[in-house]
């Protein structure tokens, strides 16, 4: 039952991602990507990581994608007729490189012996939390500092500079003030 569910969800993830990257409307692409992330979170749950599944939904689908939507709406990018569409000259090198990588994967998988058996022990949230705050406590501190630096950097970039901006985009800059 869980195996069948895994393959169905894998198909959902791949199809939603394909729709997302071939969509010319940026908002539709984000919505397809949220669908893909929900299916991926369910796959994480099936693979024994309920906490990561919850964070995937909360942070990825909830926060990051909404941030993308905010930026798209704020900059008014939701007009696909203004966006240059990739033509076939853009598509064929990307598809060729992807096909080469996928082909090498298939050759690799077909020609090797099965992986050594692992140690299928369940990971409880208690194990996860104890290891996170004891063995990897320094990493948590570093990540928190990284988030702080990103916050400072985003504040600096978002600050409106008076000089040099006004003569560049005169009336537009005045309008958004």
């Amino acid at each position: 039952m869980e195996q069948v569910l895994f393959y169905i969800l894998a198909a959902v993830v791949v199809i939603a991602t394909i729709f997302s990257i071939s969509e010319k409307h940026a908002v539709h692409a984000i919505i397809y990507l949220v669908t893909s992330f929900f299916a991926l979170a369910t796959i994480f749950y099936l693979l024994g990581a309920p906490l990561v599944a919850a964070f995937e939904v909360i942070i990825y689908a909830g926060a990051i994608m909404v941030l993308f939507l905010f930026v798209i709406m704020m900059l008014d990018l939701g007009h696909p007729e203004n966006v240059p569409m990739p033509n076939s000259r853009d598509w064929w090198p990307a598809l060729l490189l992807g096909a080469v990588t996928l082909g090498s994967l298939v050759v690799l998988v077909a020609g090797r012996s099965p992986l050594p058996a692992g140690n299928p022990g369940g990971i409880t949230i208690r194990d996860f939390s104890v290891m996170l705050f004891s063995k990897y406590g320094v990493a948590v501190e570093i990540i928190s500092m990284q988030l702080l630096f990103a916050l400072v950097g985003a504040l600096y970039l978002g600050k409106r500079r008076r000089s040099g901006m006004r003569e560049r985009n005169g009336s537009c800059g005045e309008k958004t003030k």
């Binding site: 195996q3 895994f6 791949v14 991602t17 394909i18 997302s20 990257i21 692409a29 984000i30 893909s36 991926l40 796959i43 994480f44 693979l47 990581a49 990561v52 942070i59 990825y60 993308f68 930026v71 704020m74 900059l75 990018l77 990739p86 853009d90 090198p93 990307a94 490189l97 992807g98 990588t101 996928l102 994967l105 998988v109 099965p114 692992g118 140690n119 299928p120 022990g121 990971i123 194990d127 996860f128 996170l132 990897y136 990493a139 990540i143 990284q146 988030l147 630096f149 990103a150 916050l151 950097g153 985003a154 970039l157 978002g158 409106r160 901006m165 985009n169 537009c172 800059g173 958004t176």
Partner: protein, 102 residues
């Protein structure tokens, strides 16, 4: 382990290649390039989760959490850059961003 680790890795590789194709195809649109990077990072998270499940160790789950935190920092900075560049040039087309300082 409900499915072999190989199948999880194949799914992750397919996702990674889709993200790579997204970055390569939409290399004139900065928003779609960021979406491609998100897809690739999700493939990396999937590899970590599959490994953690296969070997029964919590380290993979911890590092997937680190990737999520790193991604949120990266996306906030990148979107601040997009807003800044859009304020300067009124576009998100990367071909227009061809000059430094002025």
């Amino acid at each position: 382990m409900i499915v072999p680790l190989t199948h999880v890795l194949i799914l992750a590789v397919i996702l990674f290649i889709l993200g790579l194709i997204c970055v390569l195809v939409w290399r004139t649109n900065i928003i779609m390039m960021l979406i491609g990077i998100e897809i690739m990072l999700n493939a990396a998270i999937l590899v970590f989760i599959g490994g953690a499940n296969h070997w029964g160790a919590a380290d993979g789950q911890i590092f997937s959490l680190m990737i999520v935190a790193m991604t949120s920092a990266e996306v906030s900075l990148a979107l601040a850059l997009v807003v800044y560049l859009h304020r300067r040039k009124r576009t998100v087309n990367t071909d227009e961003f061809n000059s430094m300082k002025g």
